[in-house]
């Protein structure tokens, strides 16, 4: 655990209705700065909606979201979405898209431009896409696209990273590498909130887990996640998933 005592996020009684349907109901939890939080739950459980609400893309119906506390200041958010809305002919190259992730408004010239290019190249190298810098986004594989989106999010020097199923459709080795990188970032002090359906992966890498299915069913240390909790959150048996951490035998 690399989290500090500083609170990065406090969610209190968060409720959200969309088209007359309750998507989130009374969700409350806290995330400490530098913590790696895994957000799990069944499809339609409100995970993506929660991320979008945290990012301010959806207005909540009730409750509150407080980023950081007074000592830590307001954090900078980085977002890696599930997918991006580009068509098969989108021309921009990987390096360009990563550099676009930087803060600011005006185009950069001279030394500032070179600095942004250098940082973009470093981030591309860090996510293993150095050789694909000049390749169009649409010519990258699904896994490479997710890594590029992570590099783009890191370009903002975020305090908190929110990732929506970045390992979906990625092979096992790619998933391990991606989560390993997130683990590294967490060690460096970046708070990570990762939505995933991959229970073995997320329990292996995350510090804490939150089980969400409209309401927050459970929130605690990853090693304490047991089959009964998962069954309650998903409302069914999940025999395919062999949780990597030992399950409490007294609570089957």
């Amino acid at each position: 655990m690399h989290a500090t005592d500083c609170t990065a996020l406090t969610v209190t009684g968060l409720t959200l209705d969309l088209d007359g349907r309750r998507i989130l109901s009374g969700v409350s939890f806290t995330v400490r700065a530098g913590e790696f939080l895994g957000l799990i739950g069944p499809n339609g459980g409100g995970k993506t909606t929660l991320l979008r609400t945290l990012l301010g893309l959806l207005p909540s119906t009730g409750g509150s979201i407080a980023w950081a506390d007074r000592d830590c200041g307001h954090p900078r958010l980085g977002y890696v979405p599930q997918r991006v809305g580009v068509d098969a002919h989108f021309p921009l190259a990987a390096a360009e898209l990563v550099q676009q992730g930087a803060d600011g408004l005006l185009p950069r010239f001279g030394a500032r431009r070179r600095e942004a290019q250098q940082r973009g190249d470093e981030l591309l190298a860090r996510v293993g896409l150095k050789r694909q810098a000049a390749t169009s986004f649409v010519h990258l594989s699904g896994g490479q696209q997710r890594r590029l989106l992570l590099a783009r999010a890191l370009m903002r020097r975020p305090d908190v990273l929110l990732l929506d199923e970045p390992t979906a459709g990625v092979d096992a080795e790619g998933q391990e590498q991606f989560c390993g990188l997130l683990r590294e970032l967490s060690r460096e002090g970046i708070t990570v909130i990762l939505v995933s359906h991959d229970l073995p992966l997320i329990t292996a890498h995350a510090d804490r887990i939150a089980c969400l299915n409209v309401t927050l069913h459970w929130h605690g240390h990853a090693r304490e996640l047991d089959a009964a909790t998962v069954r309650a959150a998903y409302q069914c048996e999940l025999q395919r998933y062999q949780l990597r951490q030992p399950i409490n035998p007294t609570n089957p």
Binding site: L55, P81, H89, L92, G101, G104, L106
Partner: protein
């Protein structure tokens, strides 16, 4: 015609300047229209502007030459159509909303023009443009719009870049995407109205789409795309006017055909480049 005599004719000089301003304006706007997949919306607004121009001519009871008041009425009408498209797009697909609104506005314009046809003379000027009849008012409007478009592009460069990639990601990064979308639609609305005089309502959409398509086929960076788009637009406008003068054909269609020529060249070059880059190895290794 010799170069010295060319500059003796004020209407030719005005046509040249108008073509250059319009080329830069469309060349700067076009990549964002193409990258945001708003080509059909731009085409729709271009057609809808006929309704606005017809309304202006009908209400003001003026002749076939639009005045400043005609342009204001036309701009307001086209903005109304843009808002209607946005409103209908909440319930139906956006291209359905564009298709529904632009044909209605176009039909409205044709009906009004039919009612006023007796005093308006050659209506094909509205449809296909008449660059040689450009007035100083239109030159100033084109210059002002070009400056506004360039300034907006410079000030919001990074926002525009993020917006062209993904709207929701841009929103999460703090980009005011609604303001950008409506800002671009307003600029397109104003451009198609003023450009009517140069290439006409039926052909202006080509100048808003083809240069951007050329840029997207030729470059991998946004700066490069905008630069190539502007250059392609300028080449199309100037070569189109030269071809029109040489072959004695209408300048509007000549400009659009030159823009399509640039598109074909960029398309062919892009295919050739990709074929070279991704040439598969031979199935049977050579000795």
């Amino acid at each position: 015609m010799m170069a010295t005599s060319f500059f003796d004719y004020g209407f030719l000089v005005r046509a040249l300047i108008a073509g250059a301003w319009l080329a830069v304006l469309c060349g700067v706007l076009s990549p964002f229209i193409v990258l945001r997949r708003m080509a059909f919306a731009a085409d729709g607004l271009a057609h809808a502007s006929l309704g606005g121009l017809a309304l202006g001519l009908f209400v003001l009871r003026s002749g076939p030459t639009p005045t400043a008041a005609t342009y204001v009425i036309s701009f307001l009408f086209t903005c109304l159509v843009a808002l209607a498209i946005g409103y209908f797009a909440r319930r139906v697909q956006s291209d359905t909303a564009v298709g529904a609104c632009y044909v209605a506005a176009f039909a409205f314009g044709v009906t009004l023009l039919a009612a006023r046809q007796r005093g308006l003379g050659h209506l094909e000027n509205l449809f296909f443009g008449s660059i040689l009849a450009v007035q100083p008012l239109e030159l100033w409007l084109l210059a002002g719009l070009t400056v506004v478009a360039l300034a907006a592009c410079f000030v919001g460069w990074r926002w525009l870049g993020a917006w062209t990639f993904d709207e929701e990601l841009a929103r999460a990064e703090g980009v005011p995407v609604v303001a950008l979308r409506y800002g671009l639609m307003l600029l397109v609305a104003a451009t198609v109205i003023v450009a009517t005089r140069v290439v006409g309502v039926l052909l202006v959409a080509a100048l808003l789409v083809l240069p951007g398509a050329v840029g997207c086929l030729s470059a991998r960076r946004l700066q490069g795309i905008v630069l190539i788009s502007t250059l392609a637009s300028l080449v199309s406008a100037l070569s189109g006017m030269a071809a029109s003068n040489a072959a004695n054909v209408p300048p509007g269609p000549a400009i659009v055909l030159c823009a399509f020529g640039c598109f074909l060249a960029a398309f062919t070059a892009s295919r050739w480049r990709d074929r070279r880059a991704f040439r598969p190895p031979p199935l049977i290794p050579t000795a």
